[in-house]
Point group: C2
Chain length 226, copies 2
Amino acid sequence: MRDAYHEELDSIGDGLVEMARLVGSAIGRATTAILDADLNLAENVIEGDKKVDELHHDLEGKAIALLARQQPVATDLRIVVTSLRMSADLERSGDLAQHVAKLARLRFPERAVPRDLHATILEMGQLAQRLMAKAAECVITKDVDLALQLEADDDAMDLLHRTLFQHLIDDRWKHGIETAVDVTLLGRYYERFADHAVAVAKRVVFLVTGEHADDLQQDLPPEIQA
Amino acid sequence: MRDAYHEELDSIGDGLVEMARLVGSAIGRATTAILDADLNLAENVIEGDKKVDELHHDLEGKAIALLARQQPVATDLRIVVTSLRMSADLERSGDLAQHVAKLARLRFPERAVPRDLHATILEMGQLAQRLMAKAAECVITKDVDLALQLEADDDAMDLLHRTLFQHLIDDRWKHGIETAVDVTLLGRYYERFADHAVAVAKRVVFLVTGEHADDLQQDLPPEIQA
């Protein structure tokens, strides 16, 4: 049987996995909301982010209480500090999913994304969701190989982002400036979401190996660095 | 005379102030670089961000070492954990200043910002720099009133951001899509920079009062919520 201390550590881990699950689902639903101009679904994502924020605050509270009461050292200290950072990444990912949903709401009953970009945005949304599912799996399994694999997946996101930009600056763009602004910001939201998922996975690498994977957030534009 | 422990705490505080000073200067220079299409200055900002990243890593190392060795509780624990978060905010602010500089470099020898938006971008850059200077002052003085004042200053940033968007979606916009994309992202960088400055100040409020100022990052678009 585990002692109270390790139960608390486990409960922090469970909180992270739950947050990742929620924000992964949120980005998936937000993507559907923006592609289908589904107002109810958008509202549902926006409302749902409160739960993510609550989990973030709970987790911070637990982590700080653990630091104060148990005064962990070495690996356990690393786990607690790293968990605080992961929680911040996940909370921010939730905000970004909420941004996508808010854009869907803002443009309703219009669709924010023109038909010819649906496939690209759908792919970005699905990839973002998969990246977050893998990040959650990394947190559960502490699988360093899987964590490192996320970087390759993130390259696919950069490629999608570049495709999006090429559409935008193509002379044949006929959707006007407002839509260009919306699509520019959307691209940024998905890319940042993916960056945070990768960051969570890389923090797992740090946890296990004690070594920082370099350059946690590549954060691409200007303007999708070639 | 202060003991070694409090000297370490002080040195973490000094690191934060130094980071705030560097990123405040960076956003000012990046703004000049993008308005004047000054490639040297842009390169200088891009290069200078390494120093910010170094300070961030040093500070994290010191904070974690302090947690492990000294096992602070109560207020001191709060200071260390809050410092870690401030450092993350400042590191991210540095990235955003670097993004502005990279956009200047990408468009060189052209200017990324059309003439009729110079005044607005200049104001955003100056305001971002002032917000960061105030955030640094909050860290030094622990002045809660000043920290709360930053929120009002941030409202001015939102207003500038809205002005920028109105220009973009005005039917008379004649600068094409690529420039619209650049200006959209620029607006986002300044706004996020300001959010992080406000976050640093609000963390000072938490440090002093023990209470979380709600909703640390307002993070405006879609599409500058009216």
